[in-house]
């Protein structure tokens, strides 16, 4: 992406009336159409409404109103984030056509900052998956190789940015659903600290793990969006009332002398050699930036995936109970009786992965198994948190691979849920611990597929994470590369 397509440049130009929001958005809509034809990344798009909202921004500017830092910036939104002006379906049949009567907190914040929401993007149904193949609509394809998955669950948002259709997209990250597709699509993605961004209006998958975060092509735009969407919201009890730094301004400050942790467990069996090599090279880059590399262990890391899949399914089984055919959403056409309204509506409305997780979670919470599964998982979660607390006593940030491999082929893992779950092996720990983590591009495989690396930091250390990532991007050009057909 050329600099003129970055969110910060667009916002500057639109605010200064060098470009109109309408022209920027019209251009984004064209690109989205083209990208959607190629990669099937959209769930909903309303060109007329979107252009009207862009003209609103232009009018606000013309009228001399204060406009926020995202003036005229087109943003794509994962379709599990509520919008009153576009349907919100979670790529599920059970919410087919559902239009919320309200906007999510992050949507309000973006619009107040002058951004224009241009589309709702595809995802694994209810954000459950790592490839966007679990969408009830259709799978999304990776722009670097359309035979491969974009990752998931926020695949549509990652592709929208990777294909340079929009500078910014929002996703949600429960176990890696922003970082893993960012890695597989060669873009930047940030999962903030749990509680940094209000979840109000994010359709819950696993409430104690879910967090909204941005995709962008570089760290500066990530910082810009985070400053807009983060902050306290009285409507989310788990949103933390912590001081909110100006993340974009923080980037201009050097990160200082960093101690970067290298986790032994990250470089064990299962890590693809090209990925290992790219991440090792990144350590060298940081060393050349003056960082000290600290070798360390997260001893409970091997249990993270098991722990994660017990907790997220338990919470999901409860969060998804409300989709019952009674109050809204899909209802079976001819129920035999009232119990059948529930049973048949849910059987017909949910896809196989969602059903699998509801059943796993129901089992883990059921009487007689609750202690052995759910409670034990909670205890392991505490151990994993403590691992990080210990690690951050000896280092400032942890660097490692985001995913064990680059993008895999469509259909490669759909028959093997366990293999699919292992795609999250490096990302789930940050959700379990609640800490912030981001993925940025750090190389390519010999086949030309992007490789991502993950930086994780202590709670509310987003500024330091972004500073380190910006320092890395000042020395490297991986993030500037776009897939061949989308180079502008």
């Amino acid at each position: 992406m050329t600099d003129e397509q970055s969110a910060r440049q667009i916002a500057q130009d639109v605010a200064a009336r060098k470009r109109s929001a309408e022209s920027v958005v019209a251009n984004a809509l064209d690109r989205l159409h083209a990208a959607d034809n190629a990669y099937q990344l959209l769930v909903a798009l309303d060109a007329d409404g979107t252009l009207a909202r862009a003209r609103d921004v232009d009018r606000r500017i013309a009228a001399g109103q204060r406009i926020g830092p995202l003036a005229g910036v087109p943003v794509a939104i994962k379709d599990n984030i509520c919008t009153s002006f576009l349907p919100t379906t979670c790529a599920s049949r059970i919410l087919d056509g559902f239009r919320p009567p309200y906007d999510a907190h992050v949507v309000e914040k973006l619009r107040a900052a002058g951004a224009v929401i241009v589309a709702k993007t595809n995802l694994d149904e209810f954000a459950m998956g790592s490839s966007t193949e679990n969408s009830a609509l259709r799978p999304t394809r990776n722009p670097w190789d359309p035979q491969r998955v974009p990752g998931g669950s926020s695949g549509g948002s990652a592709v929208a940015v990777a294909a340079r259709a929009v500078p910014i997209a929002l996703g949600s990250d429960t176990g890696g659903s922003i970082r893993q597709p960012a890695s597989l699509c060669g873009v930047c993605g940030l999962k903030p600290t749990y509680g940094r961004v209000s979840r109000y209006g994010l359709v819950a998958f696993a409430s104690s793990l879910d967090q909204v975060g941005p995709f962008a092509t570089d760290v500066h735009d990530l910082a810009l969006v985070l400053s807009v969407i983060a902050g306290h919201d009285a409507r989310d009890s788990t949103a933390v009332d912590e001081p909110l730094p100006d993340y974009a301004a923080e980037l201009d400050r050097p990160p200082g002398k960093l101690r970067i942790g290298r986790v032994r467990e990250h470089f064990a069996e299962g890590l693809d050699p090209p990925v290992a090599a790219a991440v090792d090279a990144a350590f060298e880059t940081f060393r050349s930036l003056g960082a000290e590399i600290v070798d360390l262990s997260l001893p409970h890391a091997p249990y993270a995936v098991a722990c994660y899949y017990l907790i997220c399914t338990a919470e999901a089984s409860s969060n998804l109970a409300r989709y019952d055919g009674v109050h809204y959403g899909y209802r079976t056409p001819r129920p035999a009786d009232y119990v059948d309204v529930y049973a048949a509506s849910r059987a017909e409305g949910f896809g196989p992965e969602v059903k699998r997780r509801i059943m796993l979670g129901t089992f883990a919470l059921s009487s007689g198994y609750h202690d052995a599964y759910y409670l034990r998982a909670l205890r392991v979660r505490t151990l994993i948190k403590n691992d990080f607390l210990g690690a951050f006593r000896s280092c400032d940030l942890i660097l490692g691979p985001t995913t064990p491999t680059a993008a895999f082929r469509l259909g490669e893992k759909t028959e093997d849920p366990l293999a699919m779950y292992l795609a999250d092996i490096y990302t789930v720990s940050a959700n379990l611990a609640g800490i912030p983590a981001l993925s940025i591009p750090c190389g390519f495989t010999p086949d030309g597929l992007p490789i991502g690396m993950q930086l994780a930091g202590p709670l509310f250390a987003e500024a330091r994470l972004l500073q380190a990532a910006a320092a890395y991007q000042s020395r490297t050009t991986w993030h500037t590369r776009a897939p061949a057909s989308n180079r502008s």
Binding site: I81, C82, T88, C90, L95, F98, P100, P101, Y102, A104, R199, Y200, G201, L202, V203, A204, A206, S207, S208, A234, R235, D236, S237, T238, A314, E315, S317, S318, A321, R322, D324, V326, H327, Y328, Y338, Y342, T362, L365, S366, S367, H370, Y374
Partner: protein
């Protein structure tokens, strides 16, 4: 049957609707009788993406009730999801408190009955939760759901099985309601379902040296005190009857069961056995943060509680030598009881005030379906009326008339009495004239008084009444008595 003793064992679960303006987890107003589904929002509708936020007022009220029930208040309490599918439950889970209730391990002293000992009912726990909506069954083929009530804050109070009879359960339920209303914790209107009771009933039967326990029956959703008494009495008889037919009708062999109460037919009806009970799959609600309550907060709430109704009832009874019933009437509601105290504090005569509260003031309140406090008469005016009566400035009969007028006219009681010509006349000449009229009109009474010592007192009393009547209540009773005595002493 010989040597058979039965001992009912009764515990009570009570749902108390808290008197908050808004719902437990959203800002929707709590309002009875509004247009269906008009008091709802994304949160209480359970829409995707909506999140609950705790109503701190409900937490404060729960603490207040917990303290009044002598409970230990949890400094750390959390929220749990209770899962079950029902159309009136939009999320298909209820936010409740499972293992860390806000209050626990309390007790409530029931006043002694029939010169017995006071009864201590242990409170096991009291926890906060949200109410469900209402299913409106309309005919055979469809049901509509009204979610106005969904999310209304409830405090569920659970006792240990310490109640020993239907009457005791009745007394407990009504005292609990008085307490909740007294404290401002609930409006406690039974007809609006603001207090709902679920007694657990079984019977220990000792026969031939062996103790049998009948199955524990939970009678669901009773919302009148009379239904509580009748349902429990019925259920005790039913269980003993079942056991007489079959000694295997025991808790051990038959388990627990849920019953409904048919108020029209006066019978309990089987709903389901507890074996069919749901697995509620409780787990901590990840959308809510735990509630931490500081010692200062508890102390602040404790300091607002003041004297509880039973304590005040007992104090009034002792201080003013009242009967139990009168003392209870004077402490039926806090505002009225406080008004009485205020009227005494500004110098009103306590005995006369009590008499007037119990007689005409409570009649006026009943006639207007309110409490005495609800009549809106100020403490100084109440005190003045009482003192006018005590001093003999107006008669007791006239006081009732003045009271009636006080509700419509803001003037001082003395002015009202004067305007209505109800001030007593101390004029001796006028009074002597009324006495002469009474004597002339009642020669038989005069004869009885003079000649029959056994009838003297009654006859004199009769004549006093006649004088009061002739005077239209204006004569001073004391002066009338003196003049009659003097007149009867004349030859």
């Amino acid at each position: 049957m010989s040597n058979l003793t039965i001992r009912p064992i009764i515990g009570m679960e009570t749902h108390v609707q808290l008197a908050t303006r808004t719902k437990m987890f959203c800002g929707c107003p709590v309002e009875f009788g509004a247009e269906p589904n008009s008091r709802v929002c994304p949160v209480c509708l359970g829409l995707p993406g909506a999140l609950p936020v705790i109503n701190r007022r409900a937490v404060d009220l729960a603490i207040r009730m917990g303290l009044a029930l002598n409970c230990r208040i949890a400094t750390f309490s959390k929220w749990d999801r209770k899962s079950y599918y029902y159309p009136d439950l939009p999320k298909n889970y209820q936010i409740s408190q499972y293992d860390l209730p806000i209050a626990a391990e309390g007790h409530f002293e029931l006043p002694p009955r029939d010169a017995g000992e006071p009864r201590r009912v242990r409170i096991r726990r009291a926890h906060l939760e949200e109410d469900a909506g209402k299913n409106l069954h309309e005919g055979l083929d469809h049901t509509r759901v009204d979610l106005n009530r969904a999310g209304t804050p409830l405090l569920e109070i659970v006792t240990e099985p310490d109640l020993a009879s239907a009457d005791e359960a009745f007394a407990f339920a009504s005292e609990l309601q008085r307490l909740a209303v007294w404290l401002g914790v609930s409006e406690g209107v039974m007809q609006k379902g603001q207090m709902r009771f679920e007694p657990n009933v079984n019977v220990a039967i000792t026969f031939g040296g062996v103790e049998y326990r009948t199955p524990i029956a939970e009678i669901k959703n009773l919302n009148s005190f009379r239904a509580i008494r009748n349902a429990i009495a019925y259920e005790i008889d039913r269980q003993v009857g079942e056991w007489r037919r079959d000694h295997d009708y025991t808790l051990e062999k038959c388990g627990k069961l849920n019953l409904g109460w048919d108020d029209d037919r006066g019978v309990t009806e089987f709903q389901r056995s507890k074996e069919e009970a749901h697995d509620y799959r409780y787990f901590p609600d990840p959308d809510l943060v735990p509630v931490t309550i500081s010692a200062e907060q508890i102390d602040a709430i404790r300091s607002e509680i003041g004297e509880l109704p039973l304590a005040r009832q007992e104090r009034l009874r002792m201080q003013l030598a009242l009967t139990d019933v009168d003392a209870a009437t004077l402490t039926a509601d806090r505002a009225t009881s406080d008004l009485l105290a205020a009227a005494i504090a500004v110098g009103g005569d306590p005995k006369t005030l009590c008499k007037q509260f119990i007689s005409f003031w409570s009649a006026q309140a009943n006639a207007r379906s309110t409490t005495i406090a609800g009549l809106g008469v100020s403490a100084p005016r109440l005190a003045e009326l009482a003192n006018l009566t005590r001093d003999g400035t107006i008669s007791a009969t006239a006081a009732a008339t003045v009271a009636q007028k006080m509700l419509d006219v803001p003037a001082a009681p003395r002015e009202i009495a004067a305007a209505a010509g109800l001030l007593q006349v101390r004029d001796e000449a006028a009074t002597r004239e009324w006495v002469e009229q009474a004597v002339a009109a009642n020669p038989q009474a005069v004869r009885d008084a003079k000649e029959n010592p056994r009838k003297r007192q009654a006859a004199a009393g009769f004549l006093r009444g006649q004088v009061m009547k002739i005077s239209g209540g204006k004569a001073n009773p004391k002066l009338v008595g003196e003049l009659i005595e003097r007149r009867l002493a004349e030859p």
